[in-house]
Symmetry: D2
Subunit: 403 residues, 4 copies
């Protein structure tokens, strides 16, 4: 699985200004308001360094909205794809769709979080990056709310040149729009644990729900990034008999072992697809796995992964949030092995609730907080993005209050 396409080349990288050299005071006049101001790291041109910009902070939240002071924002692999222009978004954008913050102001009519718990200024909360309309064909008739055409994601789908501007996590303040689904966080859940899991955990929970893993299944995880580690944790917690992980680099496979993988195969050590398939067969009594979960994002992984399923097994395509292009594939395998293949897009509020509950309950067994390997101040946002883009680190996070 070549990763070139997703990694900045040496050449590109050298063209970037050292992140510490970025001016932290805006190069342009601020876009927003007048009074109190805050900083944000803004994506203004694809494949160009993020710009530090200053925005006015509203005095109080408007009706139905919440004003939040950002405590921590995760850097997701999707942010790298966004930076590269691989997803169709309109600029400028404040990136960041995995965020925890504290409530500064509650707009009129906002009294409770999604679970019905009271909200108060000072509460530490997180939220879903998107909100479905609840009333369209996909929301109501077909119950596929993640496919609601009205969904736009914080940190992705809202340009920051329109009010209320502060709609991404790479900023000191964040505005939550009416109908945002929020969750007051229990004290025993560390912010770093939640951001360490990030949207990867939500993605995994939703995908595995759709696939219907059964207790006692033998599971293969393709990929050891955040989604892969999350899928491993959920599969393990859901009673998988064995979980095998295929990925890299070595440090992530070590995390996989800490999270309970029975075995981990390093794709750098075993670069041949045929050999990896044979390894799975050997580890599964010759038959292949009951379920294989793709968390890679390369089309070739899908072709390889279907061969890793036992006949009648399940295959979950979870890593293809971006369009990574086509691959030669023979659909005969689906008929012959009578496979079940599932896709899953984004997640719903109940998956975030499920993730929070899971982290509180099983955080000791699955130490997501330790996946965070790099902390950056907001002014180092570009560096955080680059580090993530190397695919060699654990999770990178921004802590606006630091640095």
């Amino acid at each position: 699985m070549p990763k070139d396409d997703f990694t900045m080349t040496q050449a590109q990288s050298s063209k970037l200004p050292s992140s510490s050299a970025l001016p932290s005071i805006p190069m342009k006049s601020n876009i927003g308001g007048v009074n109190r101001t805050c900083h944000a790291a803004v994506l203004e041109s694809f494949r160009e360094p993020l710009c530090a910009r200053e925005f006015s902070v509203p005095e109080r939240a408007s009706q139905g909205e919440i004003l939040v002071k950002t405590e921590m924002a995760g850097i997701c692999g999707t942010d790298v794809h966004l930076w590269k222009g691989e997803l169709p978004i309109r600029l400028p954008v404040i990136l960041g769709h995995e965020t925890v913050g504290t409530i500064v102001s509650l707009g009129e009519g906002v009294e409770k979080d999604w679970t019905g718990a009271d909200l108060r200024v000072g509460d530490r909360i997180t939220w879903n990056s998107t909100t479905s309309c609840g009333q369209c064909y996909y929301c109501a008739v077909k119950r596929q709310p993640t496919r609601c055409p009205q969904r736009r994601a914080y940190g992705i789908g809202y340009p920051c040149d329109q009010a209320p501007y502060l709609l991404g996590g790479y900023a000191e303040y964040h505005v939550l729009m009416p109908r945002a689904t929020t969750f007051r966080l229990p004290d025993e859940l560390a912010t770093e644990t939640l951001i360490g899991a990030g949207c990867g955990l939500l993605t995994a929970i939703h995908g595995i729900e759709r696939t219907g893993l059964e207790w006692g299944d033998v599971v293969v995880i393709q990929g050891s990034g955040t989604v892969g580690i999350s899928a491993l944790a959920v599969a393990r917690a859901a009673g998988a008999a064995r979980v095998l992980v295929i990925g890299g680099p070595r440090s992530r496979l070590d995390s996989a072992l800490i999270f309970g993988a029975d075995a981990a195969l390093d794709i750098d050590a075993v670069p041949g697809s045929r050999e990896r398939i044979e390894w799975v067969r050997r580890e599964t009594g010759g038959y292949g796995a009951d379920a294989v979960i793709e968390c890679v994002g390369h089309p070739g992984a899908v072709v390889e992964g279907m061969e890793m399923c036992r006949d009648g097994g399940k295959y979950l395509i979870l890593g293809h949030y971006c369009d990574a292009g086509s691959v030669l594939w023979n659909p005969h395998i689906v008929t012959r092995k009578q496979l079940q293949v599932f896709g899953s897009w984004s997640s719903e509020p109940r998956h975030l609730k499920s993730a929070i509950d899971f982290l509180v309950r099983d955080g000791a067994r699955f130490p997501f907080g330790k996946l965070v390997t790099h902390r950056y101040g907001l002014r180092d946002a570009q560096k955080a993005l680059e580090t993530t883009a190397s695919w060699q680190c654990g999770k990178c996070v921004l802590v606006p209050g630091e640095g």
Copy 2:
């Protein structure tokens, strides 16, 4: 969807001897026994005319076996692929895996059919072309008996140079091996109705069972061959709100309309994939279908068909019994549309029972017998195969007692 690969070229066709010119008395000495003899059409070399051969007929059935006089044998599209050498079988073989006959002799210990009904000499029966072992990992642990490695199919997997020789439908007599799953046919079910449905109906019933069509679903069927028409009938009977069929030639689309299709699109009239997808969108309120069933067997149909699904919809790959090669495909569609994709291989005895019950119950609504457009005597087996290979006819059948 080019069909060239599956159709004999003009050149090949002209090389074949006129079927009526085939000697009906064996060109080689007979392979089997001595006493009473019978004829069979034998595939001895791929892409060469079938040979008429003479076999001895056992005086009585051996222990656990049944000796049957063939009443009618269906020509299945798979037989064309077998004839072309596209499936890995050992020759010589008596083709024919869709057969009805009358019992001539019951071996010791054979007293009942699969449903527990008494069997007697003279009874008209049909049977599954394969038998699973019932005890292996796939039969017992994972309940995927159609993937039992011990399955071999009458008319496909048993060479006729080994006892008991007569293990295919293109012959005057047929031997059923111990553990064969037989079904005594009710008088009200015409043989031609059952053979008109053929293994396509079993395939459709099994595939749709795995997919889980829901009452009120909007369904698209890709392909109007026997599997496609059968899938249409089952979807219709199962309460589909609308069933759209895409296929050809025109005569088969007319059958589709008789079987209750709400609309039928002729791929000769609309050869562009994009236009066909647009047609489905228009016919489904802009969203695509709840379920799309592929009954074509060309890889390109799979790529096209997934685009015809609504988000969160189901896609059944039912036509890829043969390996028809690879196609460029983008797995992103499965994630983005959060599809469910299913495969289904062959069928189990309970699907044959279900088919028989269905034909008795709903035969008037779904006149499968009328799909039979050509009847041939055994000596015209090659001609029957050629006619089928043209993909322009309805169902062809062999009636050994005729001609």
Copy 3:
């Protein structure tokens, strides 16, 4: 199954004033407003005749609301239970939760129906009698919106001594509150067809969805009231191999046969539970049915019905909307027969959409309009209720514009 409990005794009946004797002009001063007025039949005391009352009609609909002129209102069996005080409601109430009307005025912000179709004054519409909040534990986390604690039903849960008063179908005008889920009716769907089906069809669609009937199932329906006939229609449409109906009186069993029942057993002719169970066994090859649907509402029917299931079969308790008391029951049957038992409460908007689509599509096969045996003007509401309470009629409807 004794019906006494649900039928007014002779004595009670004789105490009721002849409905034509009811004053149509209010006995009390009107409850509502001043200007334009309309009549409504109001339940003021349990087991006392409905009172004809006059209400003011708002000049135009308030924000988010819709004002409708009632075209037809169905009398549901539940209305009888409400009249008897068997459900915990607060009086006075305008009964009627199955209603069709035309839009008189659209409140600000109301532009589309639930399917997204434009709404205009003069449109003929229907609506769900309840609306879930969409945000609570049951709506959002567990996706059981029919168990939302905020649901109140038109014609049941809204006393008519509070604005906006007109919240039931037994009235010339009806107000729909904000967030009501409405459906513009296609011209080809007669009002009488929809009201003939009533909420029974929604109930059946929801219940059968939860149960998961499979194509080819053998189904028994206990009860031949509106829910029973609806369940029969849906089971038939969903491809049931056989549908047996047990109920009465004879006229309803005749309707069942028109709707496609394979056989109908009259409980008056076969009053013994044991005999009815034996009848089902005989009709199902000795095993019992794949699925049995209870649409009776008497606890004894549940005990009897579980015996009618084959082992591993499904049992749907659909008729126990009211608490009809306890019964001696042995749970051993659920373990021994390894049954699956389902309950289903009310219905969701998508079930109403499904019902409308079904009636448009299959109205010829299932003539729900013909179930309407009695039409009454509004002033005869009490008589309509009494006729329904006799359980000897088909569907009774109120047509405010008549009489």
Copy 4:
């Protein structure tokens, strides 16, 4: 939940001879053969002490059979019911349907265990107590093999006055009939662990499979006997968010806590049904549990347990293997709460395989071997039965080689 019915009264108990006083050499002439002999504890009259009898041991296993030397036999609660005559069996019977032994002789044609592993003399094995025919309506058409009418269980359904006599676990030797489904045990699995789990674990695995517990469910277990502890273990392993156990006596609740219960309620301390329901509500945020598993066997537990479910929740009736009589029950609860209720009977070979795999994998987390509180020699079989009947102990086992 009164247990009187299931416990021997003081009076009955005092009538039993002290088990150590039982003659170990048969009081009657032996029933079986001549040569080598062995002892067995035989139930000859209900509610009378088991009789020690001597049987001949076949020199070698007959065709298709296996001769096993019993290593350990579990005493199951069902054995108590059998002893009391509460199940319709024909006497005399050698009880014991949970057995481990070593192969003494393999009959002709027996070469592999159910998983395909080679069998050899000296191998330690276990087996399913019943074998389904594989061909009947329930085995084949409806795939409910545990309801196959041909099933008879070792230790229950085979009188020991007919060859091959030794068909129960309370004996030094055991004969396995043709088609028995055996499992060679891995060295790392202690016999006591497997027998400690016993058929309760198989029952729980099957029942939970049918119910479909989901990862993250909140689960209540009613009962802390072997089935209850097993259900707890499986629910825990399958990722239940919380598992609450209600039962007794205290020692068993301590086991429940060791097996990972989040809380355990002692029914002796909280004898009121209403209080227990309230306790569950409090422990589940006021809603009730996602799934409640009944492992008690008293009808009243079912009525109570349904109240412990949240709306839309699942209820599994797993403890009613015996007919414990009827109870007053209101089916309205199933409709109103739209429950799903499941039953499950016995288990299939794949559940035994699943149990073995589970014990090997998770034996440290769920120490089933420690549930064994009493070991007896064969001559103390009656005492073992009495101890079990007190319902105050853990698991009792017979070790024929001891004592």
